[in-house]
Symmetry: D3
């Protein structure tokens, strides 16, 4: 029974479900007919609302967010959305070792595959030994590697899922390398180091759990300073790396938000600083649009609703006809998709 068979993305009104779900949120409500629980169920394919009505509701004195429960119930419709009317819930289902990846959204590609690609970039572009050694040392330190494999890229805005930080880091690094092909004066290796570690602090700024909350340190110091602190011991130990290169790397990290308004205490003062900021911005925006496009595709809409983080609504224009693309028939693994809703 620890094997999920039903994913939220697939449930349809009218059917009955019996499966494991993560409790993403649980509030006690009160209606004329007594207390009821308003619950958000989650798995890797999406979220759905559910209700436990009186008198079943009274069996649960409290329901802990983040726990995995066995749920049984009927799928109804409320305001045009499916909603589960729960008639049975087991908060501690047997078979404790549930694979958390089944219950949380994740990046499209596996963390291992992305980490490998990141390390390949180091191998390919880092011709200067001290840089290569430094990057590998950091990427292969147990603590940091572990964080990279799981940390989200942001709380809600972009890459807000397992290994989202790694996906974002990879995107920024690739874009930076592409920029170096166009602008030859850029210092390719320092820029790559900056791209790889620009958001390192985020791994500690947010918790990795289902809710991606900010840590106290994250809110009081910010991920830029936290990243610097994580890198510092590695920098100190890289005796063969020029001090000027270390200073440049630290400047890249500290200035990568581009403007004071976005939390950078100093603004970019080198071409690599500008390039990193553009790449960071571009990759975040592309991820937000990507997420919006998926929803629009599902809903068959050409215009997105107003997207707060982009401060506009987004359009899916006519695409240039492309026979090659049409053929590609992607099979999507339900659990490698960004969370709906």
């Amino acid at each position: 029974m620890t094997q999920k068979s039903h994913y939220i993305r697939d449930i349809v009104p009218g059917e009955r479900v019996r499966d494991l779900f993560l409790i993403a949120r649980a509030d006690l409500g009160q209606s004329r007919n007594g207390p009821y629980w308003n619950i958000h169920l989650q798995d890797c394919s999406g979220k759905v609302e559910a209700k436990i009505w009186n008198p079943l509701s009274q069996q649960f004195a409290s329901i802990e967010t983040g726990s995995i429960a066995l749920i049984e119930g009927l799928v109804e419709t409320y305001r045009d959305k499916p909603q589960v009317r729960i008639d049975f819930m087991d908060l501690s289902p047997s078979g404790n070792g549930h694979d958390i990846a089944q219950f949380m959204p994740a990046a499209r590609r596996s963390a291992e595959e992305m980490m490998e690609e990141l390390e390949d970039l180091v191998t390919e572009h880092m011709k200067y030994k001290p840089w290569k050694k430094f990057c590998r040392k950091v990427l292969r330190s147990e603590d940091i590697r572990q964080k990279f494999m799981t940390a989200p890229g942001a709380k809600t805005v972009h890459h807000a899922y397992i290994a989202g930080l790694l996906e974002h880091t990879l995107g920024v690094a690739k874009l930076c390398m592409a920029m170096c092909d166009v602008y030859e004066t850029l210092d390719r290796q320092t820029l790559l180091a900056g791209a790889i570690f620009h958001d390192l602090g985020k791994a500690w700024e947010l918790t990795s759990g289902p809710a991606h909350e900010y840590t106290d340190e994250g809110k009081l110091l910010g991920h830029i300073q936290m990243g610097q602190e994580k890198l510092e011991p590695f920098l100190k130990r890289s005796k063969d790396l020029e001090e000027g290169l270390k200073l440049h790397l630290r400047h890249l990290i500290t200035s990568h938000h581009g403007e004071h308004d976005f939390g950078s205490p100093v603004r970019p003062k080198t071409p690599e600083g500008f390039a990193l900021h553009f790449a960071d911005n571009m990759d975040a925006k592309m991820n937000m649009i990507d997420k919006a496009y998926e929803d629009m595709e599902q809903a068959g809409q050409e215009w997105s609703p107003y997207l707060r983080f982009l401060e506009r609504d987004i359009f899916r224009p006519t695409r240039t006809p492309d026979p090659a693309r049409a053929k590609a028939n992607k099979e999507k693994n339900q659990c490698l998709l960004p969370l709906k809703g």
Copy 2:
């Protein structure tokens, strides 16, 4: 005598010069010792100030900006900069057909070479016939091609030299294609069309003469609208291009400044719109930094003065050692460098 032998970049205090220069500016001044002319001489390698003191000054009732003159004089120093004390000037030197390219700064590469590379991009990426046909039609129309070969990219900020518009266009197009390699969902062909024509209106917004002044139309309508108007007859004639693709291209042009503040009446609403805006911004910034770096290199400085358009001063950091790069021994043609000063 119509053959220039001395370039401004090379003149040194103490020597005498006798050569052709373009008069970039001429004002009549008045000192205790009588009237004098304060003149800016220009050739493709740079600018230098010059003076015609009394009584020679009185021989010239007026001096027209933009004319080419034969100048003779002694190079002195004033406030640490060279200054020519003119003792002979012929405002209509024999041999009328002076090659204007000798007197104005130009892009590093020849316009022909860059245009060819731009057309190669069309050939390589435009798989959809109607797009390819459209782009070629526009690029090969006599009027537009001619403008592209000479128009500057901006009045003063970036690419402010002959064929600067073409150089900028090529940079943006290449960066956009690099982005498509990283973000596969981008519509590569529409984006390329947008990149190639995003600043088309600039060819009419500015005059192509030595001073790069705005035209009345340029100041009253802006280059975005002017570009739309230039493209419109070509769009109308492209019967096989989908209306949706035409609309997208027009949206890309109209929104490429990214924000209302920068003069875009609408902001980007498609991923290609974001990408074009980023590429445009990045290419302009890289050109500004490039220009500043050249000055800093000559002056042996690590920090630039405050650069108004970047709203900061710029740093030349320690570069990652690169044996390959060190070997490359660039021979620079004096006339293919951005203007100093």
Copy 3:
């Protein structure tokens, strides 16, 4: 039965209604007692909410927005507002040719009357033949005239009703002419042309239907550019109009929002440009206040609620006593009033 007898403005809780209404919105809800329809009914005098409770609700698989329906029901009160509990609904009532004007709010005065006044302004002020000819040509072109008679002035902010664009255009034109009386240096005729056509693009930026939605073109290009394109063929054909005057007119249209922030790619550079921008702004503000005043008058309030578009609440101050005004006894036609709510 196609004759409406009851207008929304007049319905009172407790009575029964049986009449034709436009369905402005329809959402399916779900309560403990089963599904219900939440509906917004509309006619030219206002809007009212209505409910179709279970089991009647189940008779309607879908309800199309924008259709006209025969409704029967009881008027109840919900949260101090009237609400219709529908007990009969016919979605395709006999007598198909319903006069849409009965169901949508409209400007206070008839479109014909306002168009006539606009043409009178041309006759009165256009002393220069080519201007007069040009304005008449455009105003009398079938397509444009038709749009002017029906298009709203904006989506929601001001003049958001049938012929609202015409009403706004007329207001701006009259205010501009009044300004010319005070500031004699203004070029009265060019300014009048600018006033008449400044928002022409809005006729295509928004759909004219009950919902006033933006068109794709409207969102991707903006009404300023769309207006220019509509005028262009007329400008091309006006051979006797000086190019400088045409350029000025186009500048007026392109700059009439006054600032980049409000979507003008260039800002006004002539006194006529400033005047048009002020008049446009003033007329829009007066219309918003007018609408708020009507609601306040009905509700007997001195202060409006916070008005988002004016970013403040509005006050109805003590009026200077005016015997003349008091006598005027306006009879209001229900269908010539801005929509309530």
Copy 4:
């Protein structure tokens, strides 16, 4: 000799002048050849620079700004502008009672004429006795009337000349009355009272002398509050004027800058408040453009230089041909023109 015969507007290089001028500014300079005085001479037609070279310069230990002096000298040219080389100066010329109006720029029309027109507006529009009585009382109080006849409208930006405040007040009042013709709901009489007294405090915010300096009170309290205080005793004595009307008038004055940013402690909350703010803004802008146009006309330029207060350069577009206007042959009194420079 107290009769001016030469006006600055007319002086030409090469001639000698001997006439009375106001000393607008005087600084002692130091050249290799000894000390010299750098002086700005002024009369009602404009300003011109002048020099007193060594040794004559040593005759004047100090030169007081604002005094009227008899000047003799040769008109030379310096940087394309005329400059007077003074060879005689009498700082206390006989005939003390110089008519100050000959030495300071003034509004185009006489103060008496404008005041009469302002009072006519009161007579024409103030149908409500208490308003008419109130306005007349204030306008006819000796102190206020005297100020109105001489005070400038601003320090430098607009209407910065004798009776400029009155000219501006009249312009705003006329524009407001024109607005009332278009928007019938406006309370014409309260608005007129607001227009007439909106800038009353300016008469005390600035000194009326040649330099238009701010007073301490002006800088520490601002003209809005100062105006309120000047009106207060009149308001208190108008027993028959409704309190609500008084409050509205005070609101109009306090909010007429429109936004906090421009120094209004509250923003307009009534339609009359919006109207007054628009009229104030429009009249100021028209005056700035007017001034710029005059300079451009003299210099034969189509584009103004960058105007700091309008934050742009201004264009003189092609005018609609107007036979009537062409005929009007204005004879201009030198002393009724805004100051050049």
Copy 5:
């Protein structure tokens, strides 16, 4: 029965209450089971929601906000908050003279005590007789003293309770005196006068009733101007106070918001002006944080929710251990605490 025995802060779900409460808000709702009243009850210790369900609800045609009622009912829970299900309500309970202080939140300390402390500050610091006389005159004028004893410090943001204005005034005055100890050049006495009267106008800007609404004058003129007007007669009568000191005091009041954006028509131009603005800002912020801390303490949270007026969430950090502080055992009077919710 006019003696309250139960305070809202203490009620717990499950118990029955019978006591006097102030009706802070009352809306008529409509459910499937008929009309119901949604009511906010208030006393000095907090607020609680209550419902009167059908058919009892029908006994009350209207319920006036601000009245005091005898309520009986059962305390239930709704969405984790207590809610009173009313089964008896007497809108005009006998014993009319209810002590309003039992029903409204108030400052922590009594108004008398705070007023005494304020007068002590005058006695201690005002060494210059005319200042001392002036301050006492104003503080002891019946009207002003009365207002100070009851007026709130703001509508909702900070010090929004009885005598909140006095508490804020005292805080600002003490902080200013502390600043004078550090910066000796500050004019201690003028600054104290400024601190005491900086917000005087607020006593008339807001009503003192349960709802703290803005008055018409408050919204149309603002408290800065209103304060000036209240002080003016006192200033006029203080013949022995230097005009320059009066002007400085008026400048302090007019500029104390620091920036135009916050409604100061002029910005501080003296060191005392800067000091007063900082103290005003600091005291307001400390009060907002204080309020948030109390809620957080009760809820046992380290982070506050997002606080709109501070534009951030607030943290309760680890405190430096302090044995002295731990011992202090504050007994809190329920009615001297800021309102919860």
Copy 6:
């Protein structure tokens, strides 16, 4: 001869000087009569311009900024300011060990005295041993103490002189302690630690030499991050200090600029954070005003010129008469005053 006898503050036109001065700036100019040096001389009492005319000028191929020279010359007047016409200059005067303090402006009080007062604050307020130990450790570390004794508080804006950082730190600390007296909930000890170390990074952000230039690190990382790094080893070694207190201290440093715009990557989230930001801002402003007041007092002006950093001009108002103050007869040491000019 190494004993200065003449200070710049005292020199008067007409006299001859022969003394040691620091060369603050030296540019080579060119006049019709040949090259000349334009020099800024400096000592602890102020700055003065000087000239070395041809042919003496030709004796100096270069003049190094920052060196101390023996100067002889005549004091003349140029544009109402004194200017030294140098007729002898020895760039390496005998007696090398010049006391730098004679040539640079310094804080009013001696660094030793201020450091003692700062340590006294620690002794007085730090009741919690771990805090006291920590603060003393840092303040007594050789490197940091040395920096504190000499570092300026900023490049140009405020406290821009020897030990200016210490003076500012002391001011902020005292103001924070005064705030704790008014707001009892503030954590006095953590706040004091924050006040003492908030600008620590500035000691490395700027060079301590005569020019106060930014270091590369200063411009690329900013003083906030640099301060954190300096404190980090001390924090790590303070085993008995709670982690929560350390985190709070680090938050105080990182957030003390108050807003992103001023370079704080995070904004204050605790009351101590608000208090520190206010105190920092207040102390900087008071120092700027102090400096302006000194100049105004010397010049006998009531209004300062426009002060760019305060974005306004400043007024010296009438002071409350104070017999005590009048008696105090301060003797000022020329070398303990902020630099003029």
